[in-house]
């Protein structure tokens, strides 16, 4: 072996020793954690099985009947949500009208059974947070209007509390021009929804997750339901939609209100 090669080999061995002198002792262990956040979307409703409006006094026809806080809605949700109400019936007279169960009287030709669902007015106990942020997003928080303010059948009256009715009688979410109790159509803006939360931890007298609902029906005299109104179709009092001189046939009528809580759409 040549001297120079031996020297290189020796130097390499020394270098190896030098580099191995700083081996720090380390030991490691791992543990993994999984978080399973399951969505919860819950509407608690306190309400009578049936809310009855019995009109058997003249003043009740004239002033209407209001059922205050007949329904209490309480929301708990882990996702952003919207809440709306839809007036519905079985449509046994026609789509968009109350169901007539019994009729009283002699079947006068001017006494019609077509009572529009939109004659039902509701009022929510506090403003929709979306409405508070954007006045174009309607809700049901306005006070019920006095019957005397109706400018005339089919006239300039604009209803502010009439329940939303789907044209096809379905329960699909109302379009952006209609009323929501909380949240609104669309998912683009922060004022289109109410964030997840619950009425359980409310700390003030009002909560975005707790609403009471008042109901009013005002038949008027004659019983044409002058407050009936639809945002798209306009006035829907009986004389407007069934013809002059018509009025509500006495009888028993039913409809139902569907409250729908859904993840922000």
């Amino acid at each position: 072996m040549r001297k120079s090669n031996k020297f290189k080999l020796f130097a390499a061995a020394v270098a190896l020793i030098g580099t191995s002198a700083s081996a720090q002792l380390i030991d490691e262990k791992d543990v993994s954690i999984t978080l399973d956040l399951q969505p919860v979307l819950q509407l608690d409703m306190t309400t009578p099985d049936q809310i009855e409006f019995v009109f058997d006094e003249i003043n009740e026809y004239q002033a209407g009947i209001t059922q205050y806080a007949a329904t209490i809605l309480k929301v708990s949700s882990t996702v952003s949500w919207d809440l709306y109400a839809v007036g519905r019936s079985q449509g046994n007279t026609a789509t968009g009208f109350w169901d007539q169960q019994v009729d009283y009287g002699n079947d006068n030709t001017n006494a019609v059974p077509n009572l529009p669902l939109s004659l039902l007015e509701i009022r929510q106990s506090q403003q929709n947070p979306s409405t508070a942020a954007d006045a174009t997003k309607l809700d049901y928080s306005a006070n019920f209007q006095n019957a005397n303010t109706v400018a005339g059948l089919g006239g300039a009256y604009v209803g502010t509390n009439n329940i939303y009715v789907d044209p096809l009688g379905l329960a699909t979410p109302p379009p952006a021009t209609e009323r929501y109790i909380a949240g609104h159509k669309g998912a683009a803006g922060a004022d289109d929804f109410v964030p997840g939360g619950t009425y359980l931890n409310q700390t003030t007298s009002r909560s975005e997750y707790y609403y009471t609902i008042d109901y009013r029906i005002l038949p008027g005299l004659p019983a044409v339901f002058p407050m009936a109104y639809d945002i798209v179709a306009g006035a829907q009092d009986i004389a407007t939609i069934n013809g002059p001189s018509t009025y509500a046939e006495p009888g028993v009528y039913t409809m139902y209100v569907q409250y729908i809580l859904l993840e922000d759409q």
């Binding site: 061995a13 020793i17 081996a23 999984t34 978080l35 399951q38 969505p39 996702v79 952003s80 619950t198």
Partner: protein
């Protein structure tokens, strides 16, 4: 003659070198044992769990064993650290495995998790009470490393039951100082995307150098 003079020292040096690959700086061995304590899945499916969270759950017990060299080195000491891995997700968020619903909201943040590491002697200086996580870039020092030049006075031997015990010893002879209970507290609230999410805790035991 030259060949003999060269080859003998060379083998001697290579022999030394083989030994030195297993040699340490100050300690003879460090070992970390981790015992998982059961289910590490935190399920939230009602308002009680969402609002109150899991106030305390033990996820693991860590057991430390640090041996001095055969010829004791009075600088043999150790530190224990923890870092969080979220598989490259946003540093302040949990790793998303899947979402329920549209997933348009905010994924859960790391700060919904609080952690503590305790033993009977409460030797950890900073983690004897729950501390929230904030970012995967943070390193949580359960037993702190020695900053600067290591001195013999930096080594706190076992048996004293004081903070920062970091001398050689093990969980068999000094259970109260070399065993750590790792507990989590998770309170998500109701503002995050529903779904399944994960993080991993990496515990690291190192000798001080």
């Amino acid at each position: 003659m030259w060949n003999k003079l060269f080859v003998i020292p060379l083998f001697f040096l290579l022999f030394l070198n083989n030994n030195s690959l297993e040699a340490q700086i100050h300690c003879g061995a460090v070992e970390l044992y981790l015992e998982e304590q059961g289910n590490n899945t935190f399920t939230f499916n009602d308002f009680t769990t969402y609002e109150s969270g899991y106030p305390r759950r033990t996820i693991a017990r860590l057991k430390v064993r640090v041996e001095d060299k055969a010829i004791p080195d009075n600088l043999c000491s150790w530190h224990l650290s923890l870092n969080v891995d979220n598989n490259g997700a946003n540093p302040t968020e949990w790793e998303e495995l899947n979402t329920y619903g549209d997933g348009l909201g905010q994924n859960p943040l790391l700060n919904i998790v609080e952690i503590r590491a305790t033993n009977d002697c409460m030797t950890s200086e900073d983690y004897t009470s729950f501390v929230p996580l904030s970012s995967v870039n943070d390193v949580l020092e359960i037993i702190k490393p020695i900053i600067g030049t290591l001195e013999a006075s930096d080594v706190i031997h076992s048996g004293s039951c004081v903070q920062n015990v970091n001398g050689p010893g093990d969980f068999l002879t000094s259970y109260s100082e070399y065993t750590f209970k790792i507990e989590l507290r998770i309170k998500p609230g109701m503002s995050f995307n529903p779904g399944t999410f994960a993080i991993s805790f990496n515990f690291r035991l190192e000798e001080n150098i």
